[in-house]
């Protein structure tokens, strides 16, 4: 007979299997283009979810919000990992970074934005979140989010469209 623990384990494993790529991509964007950091953020967020699986009704928003909060307070989250496990952190190339660095365009500017501005841009333009939703994720006020978005967009516009030749292949109207 399967126990409740076994059921939770299976449900958690299935959630991770199905959603891990999307979560890593999201974390990669908000972290500014570091795969190692993205994976670290996702594992940290999932570790928190794992401990609360019974209590979280909708895991994906919970994990995404956790990723955002861990990333904006990275210093504090790293501090909490007291027991540094004997964890192998293999040096690897970052093909995504190479992709971005070979592109002088808009995305390079996005990844160079300050952390909160970058996160607000990703949540607005990639996740289609409202100002209020972004404020909730970042733990700040909608006014601050609007300010961050305005500053970010102003900065990005100064180098656009000339900065991103590829963007001319995007949607036009």
């Amino acid at each position: 007979m399967r126990s409740r623990h076994d059921d939770n384990e299976a449900a958690f494993a299935e959630f991770v299997r199905v959603r891990q790529l999307a979560l890593v991509r999201f974390a990669w964007l908000v972290s500014g283009g570091s795969y190692a950091t993205a994976e670290d953020l996702v594992q940290d967020a999932l570790a928190r979810l794992y401990g609360r699986w019974d209590q979280v009704s909708d895991p994906e928003p919970y994990v995404r919000t956790t990723i955002v909060r861990l990333n904006v307070s990275r210093w504090r989250s790293a501090r909490r990992e007291v027991l540094t496990a004997l964890h192998v952190d293999r040096p690897v190339a970052d093909p995504e970074l190479e992709l971005v660095e070979s592109d002088t365009g808009l995305m390079r500017q996005v990844l160079a934005l300050p952390k909160r501005q970058r996160t607000a841009v990703i949540l607005r333009y990639w996740c289609d979140q409202s100002t209020e939703q972004i404020a909730a994720a970042l733990g700040t006020s909608p006014i601050t989010v609007r300010s961050n978005l305005n500053r970010a967009v102003q900065r990005l516009r100064t180098t656009w469209p000339a900065a991103d030749p590829a963007s001319t292949h995007g949607r036009q109207r």
């Binding site: 940290d44 909490r80 333009y125």
Partner: protein, 419 residues
């Protein structure tokens, strides 16, 4: 025809995100491991990281040199009285070669190895928390890797086993019952404590006298959803925690108040030390004694912010950053050893954590062979483990549980090594 900026931005983000692919890491397993570590670490709070090592074999004993090149058992004291220069990291291949030839702890530190019964008198499996007096241990029943149970005072020689803490009786809420981490001893073993969590997300600290099991304190600390914060009971009945972003003081009669001047500081989980960084360096503040130490230390490496804090032990504090897959570590001495000195290294596949006072565990890509390095003498022993949980630190400062042997639980008393 105009190009819509919003659409172009969304398109650029989407195209870039689509290029990110998984790299084969078992993320679910990693998350489970982190959950277990977090649970253990919340109550442990006494492990740290360090960096250093230069490989070399001397007289049949694996030895790591100090930064000054000494390979002798006792590095010369510095003029300031600090005996150990800051560490440097050897090439990875040299370190692994040393690990491959290092002897067992029994070979080089026979006086420090102890054999205890593999099970308690009632048949339970257990973890050793610490030794509170010669031959007397505080132990905790284990129900697998993640589950922590009752805490006992155990005298192996006589078989005496006295219950100290039963979280099921203290916190009968079946949803949140039982310790969230390993028990720990306080005030040199006088008290023993465990943390539990209630469904309202409050962390509770239960403290008993180790000698009698009598309850001496019960402190409730409100916590945010999903978080359990480090707790430092430094002295008296006061508890410092930083669940409100800055260190707060709690007690059984005080619901919590911010400590004046603590803005920007965060608890390290180590003996009442809080830490803050600024553009000019890092400042440690012992909330129990009021002592402050400020060091000139980098705030970033390779453009990545450094994380100072929890990895603090009696000897070292460290900060880490990850820069394109390479782990960088910097060391800040917190007490008399290498105090105020820093070094940063590219650790690559090397993993390292500091235990006790001046010891480090390290491994390479093969995590089943782990080196135990006495940083004061440079000696290295190696242990071979079937799984990571076979090698465990206690919450006391100087007890390391080695892989079992012949049905016995095997301990390495690091204090005896240094003595």
């Amino acid at each position: 025809m105009t190009i819509d900026f919003d659409a172009a931005l969304a398109d650029a983000i989407g195209r870039t995100a689509d290029a990110v692919e998984l790299r084969g890491t078992d993320i679910a397993a990693g998350a489970r491991r982190r959950h277990r570590r977090r649970a253990r670490a919340r109550a442990a709070g006494a492990v740290a990281l360090a960096t250093l090592v230069v490989a070399g074999g001397v007289m049949g004993v694996a030895t790591l040199r100090t930064a000054t090149g000494h390979t002798t058992a006792t590095p010369p004291p510095s003029p300031s009285g600090h005996p150990t220069p800051p560490p440097t990291l050897p090439p990875y291949k040299e370190l692994m070669a040393l690990l491959a030839t290092a002897p067992s702890p029994e070979t080089i530190w026979p006086q420090a190895v102890r054999h205890l019964p593999g099970h308690l008198p009632d048949g339970s499996t257990y973890n050793v928390i610490t030794e509170v007096e010669p031959g007397v241990y505080v132990v905790q029943v284990s129900h697998g890797v993640e589950s922590y149970g009752s805490v006992y005072r155990y005298v192996p020689a006589s078989g005496d086993l006295a219950l100290l803490l039963d979280a099921r009786a203290l916190n009968p809420d079946p949803r949140t019952c039982c310790p969230v981490g390993r028990a720990r001893t306080l005030a040199g073993g006088t008290y023993t404590a465990v943390q539990t969590v209630r469904s309202g997300h409050a962390t509770e600290l239960w403290v008993v006298a180790t000698a009698t099991g009598a309850t001496v304190d019960h402190v409730t600390i409100p916590a945010s959803e999903g978080e359990i914060y480090s707790v430092d009971r430094v002295e008296g009945h006061e508890v410092w925690s930083d669940n409100a972003d800055t260190p707060h003081l709690y007690s059984s009669t005080d619901p919590g108040r911010a400590l004046p001047g603590s803005a920007g500081f965060a608890m390290t989980g180590q003996d009442g030390w809080a830490v803050a960084t600024s553009g000019s360096g890092v400042t440690f503040w012992n909330l129990g004694t009021g002592q402050r130490r400020s060091y000139d230390a980098p705030s970033t490496i390779g453009g990545q912010p450094l994380a100072y804090g929890d990895p603090c032990a009696a000897v070292w504090c460290t900060a880490t950053a990850t820069d394109r897959g390479t782990k960088l570590i910097t060391v800040v001495g917190l007490d008399g050893v290498a105090e105020g000195r820093t070094a940063h290294v590219s650790a690559g596949q090397l993993s390292m954590e500091v235990v006790g006072s001046g010891f480090a565990l390290f491994s390479g890509a093969d995590q089943h062979t782990v080196g135990i390095w006495d940083m004061r003498t440079g000696q290295v022993a190696a242990v071979h483990i079937a799984n990571l949980e076979d090698l465990a630190t206690g919450t006391g400062p100087d007890i390391l549980t080695l892989p079992p042997s012949g049905g016995d639980k095997v301990l390495l008393d690091l204090a005896t090594v240094t003595g």
